[in-house]
Every structure is written in structure tokens, then in C-alpha cells.
Subunit: 345 residues, 2 copies
DNA sequence: CGTCAACATTTACATGTGTAAAAAGGGAGG
DNA sequence: CCTCCCTTTTTACACATGTAAATGTTGACG
């Protein structure tokens, strides 16, 4: 059952009777070797246990075929969806993805960047931490390799390729919807862990003014640890509802996880948000978190097109790797959000 | 601002005025170099931009300091929690984690294993796909490096180190709780994507018999794609509730995501599961998915100790890497589940 | 001030594979 | 059947670093 194990191409070459460089070419692309020879190699390979040394192969190639991806947080289905889209797209392009999670710690993010440089990845896709990211790290990465930012975009880095959602459009869309169908909404902010938090807030304010309503933002004080969004949403509304406020208002949450907490707070105060209760409480979110349809009531929200974002980030990075549009203007791609009308608003 | 870039240790050695091997020792462990020399190197390093080549360093060391981790699925907070625990533990031990997701595809899992062998990782931790995993791949990995299975354990691989939850205890615990506090529960199974699915089912049946009740399992037919647990739970109960069945029963779901679907189905049929409604509908889950406390009603469940599982998987792997207990009996570690009493049951 | 030991540094070789250039092979046309 | 050209294979060197053994340095003690 267990085949004889061979550790180097050298040994393999004597075992099969082909020169080592021929094997090297075979492993890079079997078609670069005569059909006859390829068959002989494959037959030999079936008889022994051999895997080419990853490090030795990548060390010398001009291109490593590796893409580095950094995401800020694992325990968030939004990022896992995004990561999955990136991984699938990269796999289809024949690239290998090296994923690192910064666990919302800029030091870990910096270390991940270091690893990417050390590994000579062909390019990097980074979803930054927001304010907490060390932008020097991003700039260093960009100066060394094709580099694309994803999801959240620092205003201070206008010259970097970026792929994300058009929050002006998406937040504007749901704001407009809420205004059209009922009371103009209050905006329940999220802890400002990244730039999207503030972008959405600004988009809400702008759209409200356009529509002739006075914006109203709550929940900007950081009550809980970063990233504990549900807790945040629940706590803020617990205070409001407890004081008898907002119980018949429309509440637009900065993201779905905040909205999940908001719905929970409503339930605890005996309130049921809904689009059909004319004049009553409504709650809406942003992102289309995978569990939205299963909440009670199912959450009305705006979907971010994570598939498109992931795919585009990869394809843009591949363009940069190929050298297309390198020293050109950076490409900023923003995808529109789609309204997901469910029960809660 | 941008420092001169140096690509090899050789160049660096002339730039600083220290021999290359000394630099090599410095990068592996600064204390292996005279304090004086270390200071001189650090000063030099501050003036230039240099990162040691990952591949060249790892190629020659006897130990790569790498741990390979495979998880079956990204879009599931249970696995991300587990992965996070593993990453943190590994980081604390000074190891670098290479994460690969098999995306519930055995071919991708096999490719990931290949990558690990190719990279000479010091050891691998794998959360298998269940039935769909190619066990030959696991055996091959195990024959080549320290190997620990995590989360889900194939009955056909009794001789492999394993860390997971004692489902007999955990499922038994909540079964017993449900029986004690009300109607004996029906078991709402999940698609049998892994061994845990069947283990829990078996544990439920055994515990019910012990308590003198007749077990009753529903939802074993695969109505939806693998891993679409919420959809599955909702669909199965939609049929039952629609036929007027189970509306005042206790329902133990195979996991929390199934339970999320179940609660949703209940809501759509105007039912509110709860522990206080004596004699009424109750719904419970398994895992303690992070969102459980925010559902309406908050989900009663059994928590898997993901932190402990992740930590233990890493520490056991490190033991194996160090050579402790290598050819010994494999170590099977099962952590108990903890009851999380909330509102739904 | 000299000597010896302990330790830091350097020399010299090893690692497994990529790749340019040289050699060999194979097929077609004469 | 020979020759020439094109393709495949081989030779030879490169890559960036690890590491054992040899060499050098430092400092304490006599």
C-alpha cells in the first residue's frame, strides 16, 4: 500500500530515468515535455510517493503564484463571504491564496504584511482594520507589490486601487426607502471601527438632507468592545426603549449585526418592528448578513455584493500583476447595494 | 522616507559589516549573537529595507515552524471560532499557521494536504468533511507528519489523535434537561454532512431510551444542499407545523443553525417556543452559535468549548512534533458541553 | 604580560529546484 | 541515406539561506 518515498527531484530522476531539469519542466507544465516522456514520468510517479518541495520551487521562479489576503476579523460572516469569493476567484485563476487574519490587531496585520513580502507573493489584497491599521504598512506593501484594498477605504489613501460598496448609494437607497414608506429613520451608528462606519453615517445624513428631513444619529459612543456589534445595538436601544423613546420610529442600523441586537432589544421591550405596522417601529440594516432571512422578524436590509467585490479584487490584482495599468491611475470600483425587502421595515 | 532596499543577506552583511552567517543566526534568535553585534545589526536594519526570504529560510531548517490547518467551511461561525482558537494558540507558541478551507470539496481538501506536505509543515490539524473526506488523504498526511483531527471523528480512523466534543455527554445533557422540564423531545436531525450529525442522533436515541422514552427522529432526508442548515430546519418544520403536527412538542435540533431555521418556521406559523410556556412548543439547539443570545426567543443550547478544543489540538500537535507520545496510543480528548439556558426551551 | 578557555564569528559546504545555454535527438526535404 | 533545422533534453550554474567545523576574539587568571 505504502509506496517508496522519494524526497528530491534528483532521486526521482534516477528512479524514472529522465533528467532532473526535464522533471522540473514537467511539474511546471506537463505540456512542455514530449508526450511520450510525460507518460513515462506519470507512470513513474504512480509508483512512488513524491511531492516537489514548495520552498525550493517558489524560491527561484520569477512568479510565486501566490496571493496574500488579509482580513480583519474571522468571526463575521460578512468577511468570510468576502474571503470565500476571493479564494474561489483566485483558485480559478490558478493562484494559491495565503490568508492571514489580523484579529483586529494592527501588530498582527503588520506581521502578516511582513510575511507576504518575505514570501514574495505576487500581490496582496487587504481589508484594512480602519483607523487602527498602520497605513505605513499598507504603503510599504504597495511599494513592493501589486496591492488592492478591499471593503473599507481610508480617505488618506486615495491613490490605491480599491474595490468595495458604494455606501453613498446603498445607504442612500435604504434611507430613501424608509422615508418613502414611513417615518424618516434615525441612524443607529456602529462603533467606528472602520471607514465604512463613518461613510454610511455621512451617506445617511446627506440623503436625509436631500429629502428635506433632519438627520438624527445615535449610538456613536463606544459602549462595548470593538466588533461586538450585536451587543452594541441591543444596549443602545435598550436605553432608548427603556426611556420610552423611539418605540414607534424607524431605525436604520449601520450594519446587520447592529440590527440583530436592535431587534433583540425591541423584542425584550415587547416591540415587533415591521413594515406593515403603519406608523410603528421599523428596523433596517446593511450588508445582508446570511442570517437575515431567519430572524424574527426577517431583517430588511441592503445587500453588499460580496461575490462581485471578491471577484473584482482578484481580477484587478491579476491585471496589476500582469503589468496592465501599473503606473496608471488607481482603479476605484464601487458596487451598488441591492435592497432586500423583508419583514422588519 | 523610502529606505534603500536590500534583497539578500549577503548584501546586508556588507552593508552592515557583519558576516552573513552571523546575520543568519541573528534572524533566528538575536540572543545567539553578542549583544554588541546585535545592536549593530539592529541599527543597520533600521537604515535599510530588508526582509529575509521566507522560502530560503524554511527550506534548510530542520523545522519550518509551520502548522497546517484545514477547515471544511468558512461561512459558519462555529468553524471560525474554532479556527480563531487554533490560530491564537499557535501564535502564542511561536508557530505560523497556514489555513486552508476545503469548501466542502474533497478534491480541494486533498490539494490542501498536498500543499502541506510540499511545505514540510511541522504538523497538521484537520477538521474533516465527514463522509465526503477522502480518508486516504488523512492517512497519507498522518504517515508523513504529526497529525491531529479536530471536531468531527471518522469511526473508521480510531488510531488518530482527536480533539472534539463529547457528544454523548453534550447531547445527553440537553436531552435530559428537556425531558426533565417538559415533554420528551423530538430530534430534528441535520443533513449527515459529518460524523457529528450521526453521533448526536445516536446520543439522543440512547439517552431517551435510558430515560424510558421512545426516541423520535425527523428531518433525516436531505431536502437541501449540504450545509444549508437553516433552510433545512425551516423546511422540515414548515411541513410539520403546516400539517398541525409538533406544535406543542419539544424539538431538539442537531445544531444551532438548524434551530435558527426551526425558530423561524415556528414564528411563521405564529408559534413562540419558550421554556415558561408549560406544555407548549420548545426548541433547543447544539453548539452555542455566537448569535444564539440575540434570537427571538434567545436559543437554549449546549455550548461546545471551542476555545478548549482549539487550544488542546495545538498543544497535542506540539507534543507530537516534539516527539512526545509519537508511537504511543493516540490521544482522544473530548470536552464536555455546557448547558446554556435561555428562553426557547 | 602571557596563556588558556569559552564563546562569537567565519569558512565552506549543503539544500532542492529554476533556467540559460549547450548538446542531442528526430523528422522532413533533398 | 544524408543534411539541416527545430524541438527536446542535458549540462552547468544560480538562488538565498542553514549549519558544522574551523578560526578568531575576548577576558580572566596566573
Amino acid at each position: 500500500m505504502s509506496k517508496p518515498r522519494i524526497n528530491t527531484m534528483e532521486e526521482l530522476s534516477v528512479a524514472i530515468g529522465v533528467s532532473r531539469p526535464t522533471l522540473s519542466r514537467f511539474f511546471q507544465d506537463p505540456s512542455r515535455v514530449k508526450k511520450n516522456t510525460a507518460a513515462r514520468i506519470e507512470a513513474g510517479l504512480a509508483r512512488v510517493e513524491y511531492v516537489p518541495n514548495f520552498f525550493a520551487t517558489r524560491m527561484n521562479r520569477k512568479s510565486t503564484g501566490l496571493i496574500g489576503v488579509i482580513i480583519p476579523y474571522l468571526n463575521d460572516l460578512f468577511f468570510t463571504k468576502l474571503l470565500q469569493a476571493v479564494e474561489v476567484a483566485a483558485m480559478q485563476a490558478g493562484m494559491t491564496v495565503i490568508t492571514q487574519c489580523s484579529h483586529s490587531d494592527p501588530a498582527i496585520e503588520a506581521r502578516a504584511a511582513e510575511t507576504f513580502m518575505s514570501m514574495s507573493v505576487d500581490g496582496a489584497i487587504v481589508a484594512p482594520l480602519g483607523d487602527h491599521s498602520d497605513q505605513a504598512v499598507h504603503l510599504r506593501l504597495k511599494s513592493r507589490m501589486p496591492f488592492v484594498l478591499m471593503d473599507s477605504r481610508p480617505k488618506t489613501m486615495p491613490n490605491v486601487d480599491f474595490v468595495g460598496t458604494n455606501h453613498h448609494q446603498s445607504t442612500g437607497l435604504i434611507t430613501e426607502y424608509l422615508c418613502r414608506m414611513g417615518e424618516p429613520p434615525v441612524f443607529l451608528a456602529m462603533p467606528r471601527v472602520n471607514f465604512n462606519a463613518r461613510e454610511r453615517e455621512a451617506a445617511y445624513i446627506a440623503r436625509m438632507r436631500e429629502l428635506g428631513f433632519e438627520p438624527e444619529v445615535i449610538g456613536t459612543e463606544l459602549l462595548h468592545e470593538d466588533w461586538h456589534f450585536e451587543e452594541h445595538g441591543e444596549a443602545v436601544l435598550d436605553i432608548e426603549f427603556g426611556g420610552g423613546r423611539l418605540t414607534d420610529r424607524s431605525i436604520l442600523c449601520a450594519n446587520d449585526r447592529v440590527a440583530i441586537g436592535a431587534i433583540r432589544a425591541a423584542a425584550r421591550h415587547g416591540l415587533t418592528p415591521g413594515r406593515f405596522g403603519k406608523g410603528g417601529l421599523r428596523i433596517a440594516g446593511h450588508d445582508d448578513y446570511p442570517l437575515c432571512p431567519y430572524l424574527n422578524p426577517a431583517l430588511t436590509t441592503v445587500a453588499q455584493n460580496t461575490d462581485a467585490i471578491g471577484k473584482k479584487a482578484v481580477s484587478r490584482l491579476l491585471d496589476l500583476i500582469r503589468g496592465d495599468g501599473r503606473d496608471d491611475t488607481p482603479e476605484i470600483t464601487l458596487f451598488d447595494g441591492n435592497l432586500k425587502l423583508r419583514e422588519s421595515a
